[in-house]
C-alpha cells in the first residue's frame, strides 16, 4: 500500500516528540550502557533546540509498566528563560527520568507477571499524538510536529491493534513517525509505522556513534528532508499479527462481519 502523501512545509520550525524506551530488562543486557545512551540523546536534543530558536522538544518515557511526560521545552518551568542562557535541559530531564524509573519499578513489583521484554509503546505513542493534536489546535502558527521512537525492546504482540490505531491516526494528521531501533532483530511494528506515515526507520550498526546517526538522519526538519537522501526501508514485513497475539501467518482468514 502507498505510504503517506507528502505535505508541503513552508518553514523549518519543528516540534520533536521523543519516545524514550526505559525498559530495564532491555538496558541491563544491552551492549551500550543506559548512561552512555542518555549522553548521546541529550546532546542530540540540545542540538535540535540550537537549530532553530522556535524548535520544541518533548520527551515521553516508555516504561515497562507505565508511560509519562519527562520534559517539555516549551513549559514555563524550564530555567534559563529570564537569565537569557540556554534552558537547563539536562538537570530537569535527568531528575524527572530518575523519578519515573523508580515509580515504574515500584509499579512492576505489585504485579507478579515476571520479566517482560516489551515496553508500552502504544501508550507513549497515544500520549504523543494527543499532545500533537493540542499543538494543532493552538492556531495557524505552529511548529511542524514529528515523533521519534528510540526503542530497543521487542514488539509486544498484545499491543498490535493499539499501535496500528495510533499509526493510522498519525497518518491522517500527517505526522511522520521516525524510528531508531537498537534491538537485535528488526521491529515489524516500527517498520510499518515509519513506512505508513512517511518517516525514517533506522537500525544503527555502530552504537558508539549513536549521536552521529541521530544528528544526520533524525535531526532534519520535515521541509529540508525533501533535499536529502534518507535511508529507505528494505522489505517491510507486512504480515498480520493475529489480533489475539498468535504467531504471524501469511494466509489467514478474515471474517466479513464483526
Amino acid at each position: 500500500m502507498a505510504s503517506a502523501p507528502s505535505k508541503l512545509y513552508a518553514d523549518d520550525v519543528s516540534l520533536l516528540v521523543v519516545l524514550l524506551d526505559t525498559n530495564p530488562f532491555f538496558w541491563s543486557s544491552f551492549s551500550l550502557p543506559f548512561s552512555k545512551f542518555l549522553s548521546h540523546v541529550l546532546s542530540f536534543l540540545n542540538s535540535i533546540l540550537l537549530l532553530n530558536q522556535f524548535n520544541q522538544v518533548v520527551v515521553i518515557a516508555t516504561g515497562c509498566n507505565s508511560c509519562d511526560y519527562i520534559y517539555d521545552s516549551s513549559s514555563a518551568t524550564s530555567t534559563g528563560a529570564e537569565s537569557g542562557r540556554m534552558p537547563a535541559l539536562c538537570s530537569d530531564l535527568l531528575r524527572k527520568l530518575d523519578e519515573f524509573v523508580t515509580r515504574d519499578q515500584q509499579l512492576g513489583e505489585k504485579d507478579s507477571l515476571g520479566p517482560t521484554t516489551s515496553s508500552l509503546l502504544s501508550g507513549s505513542l497515544s500520549m504523543a499524538l494527543c499532545y500533537i493534536q493540542k499543538v494543532f489546535r493552538s492556531g495557524p502558527l505552529h511548529p511542524q510536529p514529528r515523533i521519534l521512537c528510540l526503542q530497543g525492546s521487542t514488539d509486544g504482540p498484545e499491543q498490535y491493534v493499539a499501535i496500528m490505531n495510533a499509526i493510522f491516526s498519525a497518518q491522517r494528521s500527517m505526522v511522520p513517525i521516525d524510528s531508531c531501533f537498537m534491538g537485535s532483530n528488526n521491529s515489524a511494528f516500527l517498520q510499518q509505522a515509519s513506512y505508513i506515515t512517511g518517516g525514517v526507520y533506522q537500525k544503527p550498526q555502530q552504537l558508539d556513534g549513536l549521536f552521529q546517526y541521530l544528528s544526520t538522519v533524525f535531526a532534519t526538519d520535515l521541509h529540508s528532508r525533501t533535499f536529502l537522501r534518507l535511508p529507505k526501508s528494505v522489505g517491510v514485513d507486512f504480515r498480520a499479527s493475529s489480533v489475539f497475539g498468535q504467531p504471524q501467518t501469511d494466509v489467514p482468514s478474515a471474517s466479513n462481519v464483526k
Binding site: S122, K134, D250
Partner: protein, 416 residues
Amino acid sequence: MNNGDGKRWNGGGEEDEDEDEDEGSGGGPDGWQITYADERSWESLQEDESGLLRPIDNKILYHAQYRRRIRSLSSQATTARIQKGLIRYLFVIIDLSRAASETDFRPSRMVVVAKLVEAFIREFFDQNPLSQLGLVSVKDGVAQCLTELGGSPESHVKALMGKLECSGESSLQNALDLVHGYLKQIPSYGHREVLVLYSALSTCDPGDIMETIQKCKNSKIRCSVIGLSAELFICKHLCQETGGLYSVALDERHVKELILEHAPPPPAIAEFAIANLLKMGFPQRAAESSIAICSCHKEAKVGGGYTCPRCKALCGLTLISSPHLARSYHHLFPVVPFDEVPPSFLNDAHNRSPRSCFGCQQSLLNPGNKPGLRVSCPKCKQHFCLDCDIYIHESLHNCPGCESFRHSKSAIASEE
C-alpha cells in the same frame, strides 16, 4: 436610499430586475437586507438565565453533541448483539434536478452536496478500507452512473466534480432500477447499500415505484435517504421497507452530520448477514533490487513489488495488506466512552484531581486555580480534557491511560 446607493450595495444578478422595475422607490429588498437575511446572525445568540443575550459557546455545544452521539452508539451496541457489515458496496445517488439549484444552502444545494459527498467519500474509505463505492446522478428524469463500484477515492471525486449541473425532474425509480442492476451481481458476503441525497419534492417515474422498492427489498439492498427539502412519504416508505435510515436536514451543519453518520458500518440485518470466513493473502513486499513480472502490466519490472504468498504469481487469492485490514480493527475493540467528572467531586477538598490532562498535558484548571470541566476513563480513571476526549473517540481509538499502564491491561485480560 436613493438609486445610486442601491446600485452600489446590490451585488447579485437577481437584484437587477428589481432595480429596473422599481427605480428609485426601493421596492425590492436592498442588498444590506439580503445580506442580513442570508447570514441569520440572530441564530448565534442565546439568552442566559437573567434574560441577557450572549453568543453561543460553540465548544461546549460541540462537545455535548458529540457525547450524545457516542452515548447513543454505545447503547445500541450493548443492548442488542448487533453485527456490523465490514465489506460494503455502497451507491450514492445524487439528485441533480432543478430543485438542487435552490439557494437555501449557500451557494446552492448542489454545490454543498458535492463538497459533502467528497468529504464523505474520503471518510468512507478511511473507515471501510475493504469496501467499494459508486456514484449515480439523476437529471432530467434520467439516472446516470457517474462511476462504477470501485475503491479509489480520487477517481470518484474527479468524476463528481467534473459534471456539476442541474436541470429537469428527479426520478427515484430510475435511479433505484439502475443501482439494483449493479448491486444484484455482488457476492453474498458483501453488504449492499444505497444512500440517496434527495433535494426534490417529487419524483417522475415511468412505472410503479412500489414494485421497484419490493425488488430492492428482495435483493437485500439497504436504502437510506437524506432529504434536503421536506419529508416525503415515498422516501420514508423506501427506507422503512429496506431497513435504511431516513433523515431530513435542517441546515448545512446538520447535512454534514447526517451524511457522515453513514460512514461507519451500519448494523447488519441479522438474517441477511451470513458470517463467512474469507481467505485473503498478505503479500510480501520484495526488496528494491529484485526483478519480477508484474501481473497487471504483463512486463518485467525492477524494484519493490508485492508477491502472492500462496503461489508467488497469480492464483485468484484476494490480496490485502495487513495495515489495510487493521484499519477496521477499531470497530472490533472500541474505546469505552468517558464519563464526565461531576463538579461535586472536583469541589470536594478531599479529592486531589490531576491538574493537567493525561493525554496532552493541557491545564485542567480554570482561572483562579479551580478545577475545570474534564472527563475520565472508567477503566484507568485518568482525567482528560474535552478536546482529547473527542480526538480519542473519533480518531485515535486508544485510551492513552489504558495503554500506558500494564497492570490495568492484565486486569482487563483476566476479566475476559
